[in-house]
């Protein structure tokens, strides 16, 4: 999930030996098949205009002479035919001639072949799983394959199973999103619906809440949610011919690419989504492990699994915790307040302690030293808690369920939205939350997880 081809770190000078600090306005000539990698610090922004030639950002073609604004991101612009770009603002940047783009594009065309076949047979398009360690460029490749598919008139279903980063939602969620319209290049993936129009068509994600940073923190919660996600996606595919032909592209957490526990989770995802194509990014060892595991494997429909290893892009950079935390906060802020293009106004709601049902997620695996797992079974996935000061500055997921539903039903429910706890008054037994809109939420169960982490800066 980790690749952001860009460079350096959030603290720009740390990793970059010779940072090329661009002048306020710079024009770059890119040769055919080269990639301009850039990094804009959080809080900074740059404007990029393609003056001539063709250029694409993770597979999405950029319009000529249109001004694109990028803020707080590590990204790259690739050109197949050569181009000339004008950059206004400060960023770290360099141009790379060596990229795995040929391989990636060919991967897309190989998938297109499978889709054409599916279309003829009215069958199902490829279900593609991307695996690879953290920061190997999985998410960027998912985005590239998605963008290419969209350009060819397809509608891929993009699945995110990595709780570390959100896709059209906040971190901690697992989502499924059909993509029929262009990806918003300025904003990562784009935006989920708001009350107004967006210059790039909004996408409609289906969200489930896992609420922990790593799948291995609580596999007993992670697995059923993945199952549920797969069930909903498969139901959609069954009825939606064009998505069915295109198939799915599934992003995974880098963390599950090491050790048996992680491989088991990969197997779980593979079987739940009937994955028939696995792309392994970067890691030779993982490739071999996957071969061992899936060489004789058949999907539920009897297909064999195609496994191929792809090169990691030189543009991938390690993203440290500081950067991850900053992007996490940015995602939360954006959820409530919008981005630089459109400002959203969340509502503040005040509720009594007794008005709400809040479930706290147990980190089951953290207690795995307990004998036999008996306790876990007995106590359930969630612990019912009263609002308390520990909740301050945390996110709570509002579930599409009722307060009387069982814990399993709540777990399987999709997410309606999130609220942010901005104030807890123990004495008056009241607390305040920031909600995207002013709808009563007290008739819905709320889930409190540890991911995304509490963050002060959201309302600062």
């Amino acid at each position: 999930m980790a690749m952001i081809p860009g460079l350096g770190n959030a603290a720009p000078t740390a990793t970059f030996s010779a940072p090329a600090i661009a002048a306020t306005v710079a024009v770059h000539e890119l040769r055919a098949e080269s990639e301009w990698r850039f990094e804009v610090a959080i809080g900074q922004k740059i404007e990029v205009r393609v003056m001539s030639g063709t250029a694409e950002l993770f597979g999405t073609e950029l319009a000529l002479n249109h001004i694109y604004t990028f803020w707080g991101t590590k990204s790259s612009i690739y050109t197949w035919h050569g181009c000339r770009i004008e950059v206004t603002g400060l960023c770290e940047e360099y141009t790379a001639e060596e990229t795995p783009m040929l391989q990636y594009a060919n991967t897309h065309f190989a998938l297109e072949r499978l889709r054409d076949e599916a279309q003829q047979k009215r069958g199902e398009g490829p279900r593609v799983l991307l695996v690879g360690p953290n920061n190997s460029g999985k998410t960027s490749l998912v985005k590239l394959l998605t963008a290419y598919a969209i350009r060819m008139g397809r509608q891929p279903m993009v699945i995110n199973t990595d709780p570390r980063e959100g896709l059209l939602s906040i971190p901690g969620t697992l989502t499924a999103t059909p993509f029929a319209s262009i990806i918003d290049v300025e904003q990562g993936w784009g935006s989920s619906p708001t009350s107004t129009s967006s210059p790039v068509p909004v996408k409609l994600p289906l969200c489930y809440y896992y609420g922990l940073a790593s799948p291995e923190d609580n596999t007993k919660l992670y697995k059923p949610i993945v199952t549920r996600l797969a069930l909903a996606s498969t139901s959609r595919l069954a009825e939606d011919q064009i998505i069915k032909e295109t198939g799915m592209i599934i992003d995974t957490p880098g963390i599950i690419c090491q050790g048996k526990g992680g491989y088991d989770l990969i197997s779980h995802i593979v079987s739940e989504f009937s994955v028939n194509t696995i792309l392994v990014l970067g890691s030779e060892r993982l490739h071999i492990e996957m071969q061992k595991r899936f060489s004789g494997h058949r999907t539920s429909t009897g297909e064999s699994i195609t496994l191929v290893k792809l090169d990691k892009s030189g543009g991938c950079v390690d993203r440290d915790d500081t950067f991850m935390q900053q992007t996490q906060e940015a995602a939360i802020k954006e959820y409530f307040f919008g981005d630089s293009k459109s400002t959203l106004s969340p509502h503040t709601q005040q509720m009594g302690f007794d008005d709400v049902i809040i479930y706290k997620i147990r980190e089951a695996n953290a207690m795995s030293f307990l004998p036999g797992g008996m306790e876990e079974e007995a106590t359930g996935l969630y612990e019912k808690v009263e609002p308390n000061p520990g909740m301050l500055h945390c996110m709570l997921a509002v579930m599409y369920a009722t307060t009387s539903d069982s814990q399993d039903t709540v777990r399987d429910a999709s997410v309606m939205g999130f609220v942010y706890v901005s104030e807890v008054d123990d004495k008056k037994r009241r607390f305040k939350v920031l909600a995207p809109m002013n709808t009563r939420i007290t008739d819905r169960p709320l889930i409190w997880g540890s991911w995304p982490e509490a963050s002060m800066s959201v309302i600062a």
């Binding site: 391989q103 262009i182 989920s192 619906p193 708001t194 009350s195 139901s235 106004s345 509502h347 809109m437």
Partner: protein, 658 residues
Amino acid sequence: MLTPRQSRFEISNLTIIAKENTEHAFAISEALKLHLKQTSPQKKLPAFYVLDSIVKNVGTPYTLFFGRQLYATFMEAYALVDTSVRRKMDEMLKTWKEPVPGSMDPRPVFPPELTRPIENALIKAKTSFVQAHQEHLKNQQQQLNRGRSTASPAGYRDTPTPPNAYRPPPPNVTPGYGPNYPPQQQYASPPINGQQYPNQPNGQQPYGPPPGPPSQQYPPQVASGPPSWQQPPSQGYQVAENSIARLNSDIDKLITTSKAEWAQNPYDNSIGTRLKALLDLQTILQNQQLPPNQIALIKDQVDQLSEASQAPKTQLPPAPVYPPAPVAATQPPAQQPSLSSILGPGALAALARASATPQPAAPINAGAPIRSPQPQYAQPSYQQPPATAPASTPIPEASSLLERLRAAGMLPAVSTPTSAPTPMSSLPVPPGFPPSFLNTPPSASRTPLANLSNDVVLKPASLKEKRPHLISSLYERLGAPCTQCGRRFQADEEGKKKKTAHMDWHFKVHQRMAEAEARGQHRSWYVDELDWIKSREVEDESGTATTVANNSSAASAAANNPKLQYLAVPDDPALANSLCPICQEKFEMKWLDEAQEFVWMDAKKVGDRIYHASCYAEATKDVITQVKRGTPEPAGVLGKRKAEDDYMALRTKIKTEN
């Protein structure tokens, strides 16, 4: 007088109205005919464009109704308008003799028996009254000098006529371009560059910043061998077959054509790309000694390209009768089959497509559903009878020549099937052996790969091969990009419609965003699982993906009711949970792209309360139905129940499956 942009919208609107009301086609066409007759001369052209747009985009029954007095309608107007308008009417008339571009239907817009009398009359008028015409023109100019400049919606369709005697060539045309056109052909064959709409990019500008200078990374235009355009095109004919000289001259010709196209259409990168490839090829040929088989291969490719670039210009019946083409050297059509079997369908298609791209250079068509003198890249499909093609001809090696040139940095070893005869141009065409790629439908807007050879498999070696022809399926083969978002649209009918709607969509969004700025906005809740499963990303008329819930009441309401009833989901928490006071049921919440917010479908606010619009209508009809409403009989309520049952069924299904 309308501005070009306004008239474009007007025209497309009127066309849509005409399309949606075909049951009143007679009345509509009569009204338009009357308008054409009565309106002032400087307003006639836009009206004709409406007619043109309707007959091309809607077709029957309008073609029938307009056809009835086509001669009178056309000639009466022609007599009154000034030369610039006449030129446009000439152009329009020419397109009426051709099939609708991009359409599968090979019949002309209007049958020849309708267009021919007009043409004859025009020719007569022109020859016998040239001088009188000049006089008349002068008088007319004096009469009309007020309205003159506004008479033609310039930005909308200032299509240059074929370069003819009285019209100076566009200033940016490379020298030598014009002379290549034998004058007598200018009227006989549809214009090559008449299709370029040089000022089209401007037509789009309301949406975006002005296009920058022509792309500069393709130096060929400047650096390109001047020799290319100094060579008269006809030279190639005398040179011995298969010789390098001949090949060179062919390439020159292609370069000349491409340059001319590019000069006319500097924003179209695909032309630039092609030009660059040609120039590279030329350099290679000039600087290197190549083995004969490779030269033969190049030659084939070039021949194909020449033919392909001619193809759009002429309407060909199945029998390959090639009219003289103005610029590119004409190759005996006999070559086609053998070539395609040597190079593989992909290569050919790629080149044919590439040479057709000038037309997709559709920034032009930005907002206009009107396609008059249009690029017809679909045409190759008319050239050959489709059915018989041996689609299964085993042609593994299908990458194009240019690809190979690039791949090896030069010309790599050629691995084409050796069984094919050396490409001598004089091979007779085996009847019923057309190139297989021609069989694919012309408008492959959905999967542009369908007629490209795609041999990529998920194997490390296969993934490392270069395949530029596949990359082109992400670029020029998809048509010309939207200036706002870079999304590409085909130049065929469907693509144009989509693009028009797409530009409208951009426009509306900008408007809505400005409005929304004032009233405050917020993030919406995510959709519920079942709504999500039921929703569809629909590629609708607006050319943008719209998410619609594909179920019961919304769909039927939309179908019955052009203006469907809905309310934004109230922000007030008290109201947000309200039930319809009549049926005591909840409102159905949907994401409505049109409104860009979550709405309650079939909802209506009366005073402080929200009702189901259908319930309310039912309730207020009259006493008798009110009585009925007490029972659970009324169709509206019943329909809703049913929808809910479906939901419940699905809900349980999901549960049980889990």
